[in-house]
């Protein structure tokens, strides 16, 4: 019997401000992700294990918590610091899948992931051309004109194009039941700087952009809970404001509104690129035999508490979007508000693809165990979401 394919979609720094979550203010325009959620298990209370890219990604991709991977920063690589753990793409590669990765799945770089953890993939990894014009530190956000991005394609547009190209290559063999694919597409936005096609700005007129309801630090907050949002302060347009990053010294209101507007526009831009990939999956007739997961690697603070970026344990930093479409099981859409964790994804994908459930890791020490889980399969929530 042929296995189901897996399309594994990740967005960088995307908090659950999607239309289907109704959490944004204003409601965010994400028709493609809303449609995917409408035929998926939508996890409305999914929490990451650490609100930082590499620790969170390493955790969810290995199914282990940071205290097992020993990855708490962007420098350490789990195979050297924690153990030689099997990752999600590696698991499927080892079982005959054509495992293909592109964009930001593992945190990139030699130190963090030995350049995207080569053992996880069946073929060389793809990175789009990250044009310097789109990644400089002069501006925290920028709306790019059509002429400019047609001339110099934005990285996430390149990524969606590549994903479509790969689907066309591997789709026929998968459809014939010869070799299923595991295709991981890691979009770079809405991560700073918020760079997006200018047409998405029109979805969010300035007069519709509100300030956060909780603009000050929590009463009686211990100082150690605070992060000075250095990731935002490095941009010239922000550093010129002479803000310190200290508690209750947030940005001018017009800057807060502009950043929120740009972040929302970036989410809608990524939604559009995800939609192009999903449309191709449908056009190729692969939709009914492909599991699709989508997640943001952690949340993001958009001025709530006067805080920005991630790097905290506040709800806005730890709460992230996650949804899983399993053909034949979630087609009518299932919403759950039960508490779930990103370490739950690995065992869920294994089970939903029809493999033997993973064993629970030893509570004492699992560093020598190559394959086990610290999370729980979400499959029971597909049957009983309450």
């Amino acid at each position: 019997k042929s296995r189901k394919n897996i399309l594994f979609l990740v967005a960088d720094d995307m908090r659950p401000d999607l239309g289907v979550y109704r959490s944004g203010d204003p409601v965010i325009h994400t028709p493609n992700l809303d449609a995917l959620a409408g035929k998926s298990l939508l996890l409305k209370k999914a929490y990451v294990q650490q609100a930082y890219c590499s620790p969170s990604r390493t955790s969810l991709l290995t199914g282990r918590r940071p205290d097992t991977t020993h990855v708490y920063d962007l420098i350490h690589y789990f195979r050297k610091s924690g153990g030689n753990f099997t990752t999600i793409p590696q698991y499927f590669k080892d079982r005959g899948y054509n495992s293909i990765g592109m964009g930001k799945i593992f945190h990139p770089g030699q130190k963090a992931s030995d350049f995207d953890d080569p053992i996880s993939w069946s073929r060389p990894y793809f990175h789009p051309d990250e044009n310097e014009a789109y990644r400089g530190r002069s501006h925290s956000w920028r709306a790019v004109s059509k002429d400019e991005y047609n001339d110099k394609p934005l990285p996430d547009i390149q990524l969606a194009n590549k994903a479509i190209e790969v689907l066309r290559q591997v789709g026929p063999a998968a459809k014939r039941g010869e070799q299923p694919f595991f295709l991981a597409v890691g979009f770079y936005k809405p991560h700073l700087p918020f760079v997006f096609p200018e047409e998405f700005l029109s979805l969010y007129p300035p007069e519709n952009i509100n300030l956060p309801k909780n603009g000050y630090i929590p009463a009686h907050m211990p100082p150690i809970a605070w992060s000075k949002y250095w990731e935002l302060l490095i941009y010239k347009d922000i550093s010129e404001l002479q803000v310190s990053g200290q508690p209750n010294t947030s940005l001018p209101r017009d800057v807060v509104r502009s950043l929120r507007r740009a972040y929302y526009s970036s989410i809608s831009y990524i939604d559009n690129e995800v939609g192009r990939v999903l449309q191709e999956l449908k056009m190729l007739g692969l939709e009914d035999n492909t599991i699709v997961s989508f997640l943001g690697d952690h949340g993001w603070q958009l001025g709530e508490h006067g805080e920005w970026c991630k790097h905290t344990n506040f709800e806005d930093a730890l709460h992230a979007p996650m949804m899983i479409h399993v053909p034949g099981i979630t087609d009518r859409g299932i919403i759950t508000e039960r508490l779930t964790e990103f370490v739950d994804l690995f065992p869920t994908l294994v089970e939903s693809a029809g493999f033997t459930p993973l064993s629970l890791c030893s509570e004492v020490n699992s560093t020598q165990t190559i394959l086990c889980r610290e999370g729980t399969s979400l499959m029971p929530l597909m049957k009983n979401p309450t």
Partner: protein, 83 residues
């Protein structure tokens, strides 16, 4: 089977040359965090008795996490349970 009743997260901070780990537990009602000293190598274990701060947010009345209740007497029993 019974579904899990909590989600766990953590975040490290450096403070005067020491590593402090904020361990956070979220259940249906609360988010509770303890910032404790953390030994990196070789044990990778927290020292639960060396506390640098605690946060308790009641999401039924305060979804925006605006009031830290960790030291309020009426929340003492909830805090003990979450600890």
């Amino acid at each position: 089977r019974k579904w899990k009743s909590a989600a766990f997260s953590q975040y490290p901070r450096y403070l005067n040359g020491l590593l402090v780990m904020g361990y956070s537990v979220r259940n249906e009602r609360f988010r509770y965090t303890e910032w404790v000293q953390f030994n990196r190598k070789p044990s990778f274990k927290p020292k639960w008795n060396i506390l640098y701060g605690a946060e308790l947010y009641d999401h039924t009345t305060d979804p925006g996490e605006n009031y830290n209740r960790a030291n309020e007497p009426e929340y003492h029993d909830h805090r003990v349970t979450l600890m």
